[in-house]
């Protein structure tokens, strides 16, 4: 009998609270997705080449999980409070009919466990499907191929999800049912009266509003202008100003709304005043929940933008130029590469002539440290002069200092570089007599590139042995070797003849670059193709670096950072929206009598539903408005400081992704608003004037 009752109550709850039940299912999916990250194909692959970084990430995951559990706790707490408030009378009756408090408590806990089990049974299969999908999609995206795919059903992840989820539910319910079962039956039976209208003194409210706005503007300004250096103190200052500003703003907003109503209501009829006063009351009573939800939404927007930024910034511009860079003599290398096994997989290979210029070595003051035979004289004076014409920044000063060093610059031969350009389908460089081009691998720093670009565009030169060489107006930055660890601050692409004359060792190539054929890559997937090519090198004693090693770390950061932040973002969004929706519905239920009175005074049911709809839209808009407005500045300061998109990132692509995510965001908000409106209309339509007797 007891369990039948529990099951029936639990089913009724799920039916009446579809939205919030689905939020719980989403939470389960999110939990499993996070906990099973280590079993994803990409992560299993990365473990083989970046085991340190991966194991560090795996240590981080429990922390992230705890944070998400903490936030989900609030979601669960609010959902259950809403549900229990609805059932107060029922509990009062149980107690009056002689049910023991302990039995009531046991009943509530059993219902919670039963509901948790149902959510888990629903959520886990969805989570499994989703993680398999993500696993396959990312594997395909990064070229792992699906050959190595393993079904990633992770028992620890399932256990973690189930334990975490049930624990959070039990704790939330424990708090609530303890509070409920302490109440006297009369308190429960009586329909609770809404909180008294808080008459916030005008002055205090306006002060809060003005201070809140001031703090927020200050936070925006500091965030946008001073966050570039990522100083911990400044970050804390921005967080403190932004957080307290948001709270103060919402605290004072009620007075502002009241003022607006008093201004406008004499000229308006219908439910205008009622609707306005309802919103004002909601804001006055719930300003904390509004501020928290707004901040959560802001965090969600920032997290998702960060995730998208990292994914599109690091993933997209990565042009694959070289699959292998092999060190060795021509004989050795060609011997291996021309073998039957290798030949079929390779599209081309070529020597990469990269060396340093034979110059004397100078110290910082410009005095000679070590003089060399047949040394050449290099001068960057032309470029430095062009840089000096740019607006003064720390970066420009650094660059001028770096380019004052006349010690051996790196040189790349024109033919080698053109071979590289050819493999990626770019137009070759044509250096005229007395022309050189500037190369750098620091393409992730867009300010650096922009400064160089501006300087080069103004027409500049270098001097070698007192002869001027014009620098081409374009800057080149395609990776010259497979190993990403090698970075070149600057190098000169020079004609083969100049390379021969100037390089310390011009006869032996730095390495041999190999590019796999597109057919092989298409057949096997890039990662698998590289792994099988590596087998051909095994036992030959050749030293080589592969594309995988280079991008492994890069890929790791992309996957880890974007995955985790998007995960947190979605979780924050679900929680914030659910809290707003619940807060509104709870308030409407508390004000049931007001709606009944309005019906008695001759209000139309449709008008009441419309008024509720307006209240819901405005309630959401208040939260969303501040969050979206703040997020503009958050994202702005993020993309101008630590998340600069590297040069070459397709702006169109970023805009398209941002656009799609914005549309998705708007759609999700619309769905939430629609569901809350629907629930609210259903409750209003269920009100009958004759219920009045019961409402007393």
């Amino acid at each position: 009998m007891f369990f039948k009752h529990v099951r029936r109550n639990a089913a009724k709850y799920r039916k009446n609270n579809g939205l919030f039940f689905s939020s719980l299912v989403v939470a389960i999916v999110a939990f499993y997705t996070l906990l099973s990250l280590g079993d994803q194909d990409v992560m299993r692959f990365l473990k083989t080449i970046e085991s340190d970084a991966v194991s560090k990430l795996m240590l981080l995951i429990p922390a992230v999980y705890m944070i998400s559990l903490f936030f989900v706790f609030f979601l669960v707490y609010f959902t259950y409070r809403y549900q229990l408030d609805n059932r107060k009378k029922e509990f009062g009756l149980y107690l009056m009919l002689g049910m023991k408090r302990s039995t009531l408590f046991a009943m509530l806990m059993s219902e919670t466990i039963w509901n948790s089990l149902v959510s888990i049974l629903l959520g886990l299969p969805i989570a499994l499907l989703l993680t398999e999908g993500i696993s396959l999609a990312t594997a395909k995206l990064v070229g792992l191929g699906i050959i190595g795919h393993k079904i990633s059903f992770s028992i620890p992840a399932v256990l973690g999800t189930v334990i975490g989820f049930i624990a959070v539910q039990m704790i939330a319910m424990l708090f609530l049912s303890a509070a409920f079962s302490r109440k006297e039956p009369m308190e429960l039976l009586r329909s609770d009266s809404p909180e008294k209208q808080v008459s916030l003194s005008g002055k205090k409210g306006w002060l809060g509003l003005v201070l809140g706005l001031f703090f927020l503007i200050l936070a925006y300004a500091i965030g946008v202008t001073m966050l570039r250096s990522f100083d911990f103190k400044i970050v804390m200052l921005v967080l403190a100003l932004g957080g307290s500003g948001t709270f103060l703003l919402y605290h004072g907003m009620g007075v502002f709304i009241g003022h607006k109503i008093q201004q406008k209501s004499p000229a308006r009829s219908g439910l205008f005043t009622f609707t306005g006063r309802q919103i004002q009351e909601n804001v006055l009573h719930q300003y904390r929940a509004l501020a928290v939800s707004s901040l959560l939404l802001l965090m969600a927007l920032a997290c998702i933008s960060f995730g998208i930024g990292v994914a599109s910034g690091r993933g997209s511009q990565e042009t694959r130029t070289v699959d292998f860079s092999i060190e060795g003599s021509k004989q050795e290398v060609c011997g291996v590469l021309d073998s039957e096994a290798s030949k079929s997989m390779i599209s081309m290979y070529y020597p990469m002539f990269l060396g340093s210029m034979n110059t004397n070595l100078y110290d910082q003051t410009g005095a000679v440290l070590e003089s060399k035979p047949n040394a050449h004289e290099l001068s960057w004076a032309g470029l430095s002069a062009a840089l000096a014409n740019l607006p003064e920044t720390d970066l420009r000063n650094n660059m001028m200092e770096n380019f004052s060093d006349r010690s051996g610059s790196y040189l790349i031969s024109e033919t080698s570089y053109n071979n590289l350009l050819q493999t990626i389908g770019k137009k070759p460089i044509q250096l005229g007599k007395s022309q050189v081009a500037l190369y750098t691998s620091m393409k992730d720093s867009s300010d650096f590139i922009n400064n160089l670009d501006d300087a080069l565009k103004s027409g500049t030169y270098i001097e070698v042995d007192d002869r001027k060489y014009e620098l081409l107006p374009n800057i080149y930055f395609d990776n010259v070797v497979a190993d990403r660890k090698i970075t070149l601050y600057s190098a000169l692409i020079v004609s083969d003849e100049d390379f021969k004359n100037w390089a310390s060792d011009s006869s032996t190539p730095f390495c041999w670059n190999v590019l796999l054929s597109q057919k092989t890559v298409n057949e096997k997937g890039l990662m698998q193709a590289i792994l099988s090519m590596e087998q051909n090198f095994a036992g030959t004693g050749l030293e080589y670096e592969s594309y995988i090693g280079g991008i492994g770390r890069n890929l790791f950061y992309t996957v880890a950072a974007s995955y985790l932040t998007i995960y947190l973002g979605i979780l924050f969004m679900v929680i914030a929206n659910t809290v707003i929706g619940l807060k509104y519905l709870m308030q409407q239920r508390e004000n049931k009598r007001r709606y009944l009175t309005l019906l008695m005074l001759g209000a139309d049911v449709d008008d009441l539903c419309k008024s509720a709809g307006t209240q819901i839209c405005l309630f959401f808009a208040l939260v969303l408005g501040v969050a979206v407005f703040s997020s503009v500045f958050a994202i702005w300061s993020m993309f101008t400081s630590f998340l600069k998109l590297p040069v070459g990132t397709s702006l169109v692509k970023v805009i398209v992704i941002a656009g799609i995510s914005s549309i998705l965001f708007v759609m999700i908000e619309c769905i939430y608003i629609h569901i809350v409106e629907h629930t609210s209309s259903r409750e209003i339509q269920a009100l009958r004037v004759r219920d009045r007797g019961n409402a007393f």
Partner: protein
């Protein structure tokens, strides 16, 4: 004479439940209310007086019989007509005031008008007049939580009167008030009834409140049981009060014999 009849209640019955569970709350009640009358309805708990008032207020539908307000059958009203009836033709005064506590007194009073498209500005004159008559000018900008019980009920009365209804229905309006505030409210209602010829139907337990009426219907077990008329010209309120108390005593003591 027909013109003077504001409300006609004709053989109204109300049955709750079905079969064996049937409860007859009203068993065929008929009476008329004349324009300008202050009618009291008295009866013991469960006698059906509140059911009767709720039928007139369209809160519940009678099982049979008709209720005519100025000649039109209110049970046939639907949608806008029903909303208009509730908002314009009747003013309702509740025992628990039922003010919206997030609206100021002014906003509460205007509410029935604004629900029917009248703005606060347009209703300004009417509001001021009512407010001074009800002695609530000082509290117009206050919220219910900042008012006393008496002030709340007078605000509620102003709300019931603002739309110039044909009839004011009051359900135990003094039930939640102390004797001093009850007297103030009843004096006001009495004055409005006298000066403006406003028709009032009041359900009450209280013999003192009933003594303000010009006629009293006693209901028992869903039937009209007795009727008292005040001789308006000659009878004082005190002597009418005596008669009411006597009637109540007879109702209580003699009911077993009557049925």
């Amino acid at each position: 004479m027909n013109l003077d009849r504001v409300l006609q209640v004709e053989s109204v019955t109300k049955v709750y439940g079905k079969g064996d569970n049937k409860t007859e709350a009203l068993r065929g009640i008929s009476f008329d209310v004349l324009e300008g009358e202050f009618l009291g309805i008295m009866g013991a708990s469960g006698s059906g007086k509140t059911t009767l008032l709720n039928c007139i207020a369209t809160m519940i539908k009678p099982s049979s019989g008709r209720i005519l307000l100025k000649g039109s059958d209110i049970s046939s009203f639907r949608g806008t007509q029903l909303a208009d009836y509730r908002g314009k033709e009747i003013g309702y005064l509740f025992q628990e005031f039922e003010l919206l506590d997030n609206l100021t007194a002014r906003e509460n009073i205007i509410l029935p008008l604004s629900l029917h498209g009248v703005t606060g500005k347009q209703a300004g004159g009417e509001l001021q007049e009512l407010a001074s008559r009800m002695d609530i000018v000082d509290v117009l900008n206050k919220f219910p939580s900042q008012m006393s019980g008496g002030q709340k009920q007078r605000v509620a009365a102003a709300r019931a009167l603002i739309s110039k209804p044909s009839i004011v229905l009051a359900d135990e309006p003094t039930g939640a008030l102390d004797s001093k505030n009850s007297k103030v409210l009843l004096d006001k209602l009495y004055a409005i009834n006298k000066e403006q010829q406003k028709t009032i139907v009041m359900v009450t337990h209280d013999a003192n409140a009933a003594s303000y009426c010009s006629r009293i219907l006693f209901i028992q077990d869903g039937r009209l049981f007795h009727e008292l008329r005040k001789n308006v010209k000659t009878e004082t309120r005190d002597s009418f009060y005596e008669r009411i108390v006597t009637a109540i005593a007879q109702l209580g003591g003699g009911s077993a014999n009557v049925l």
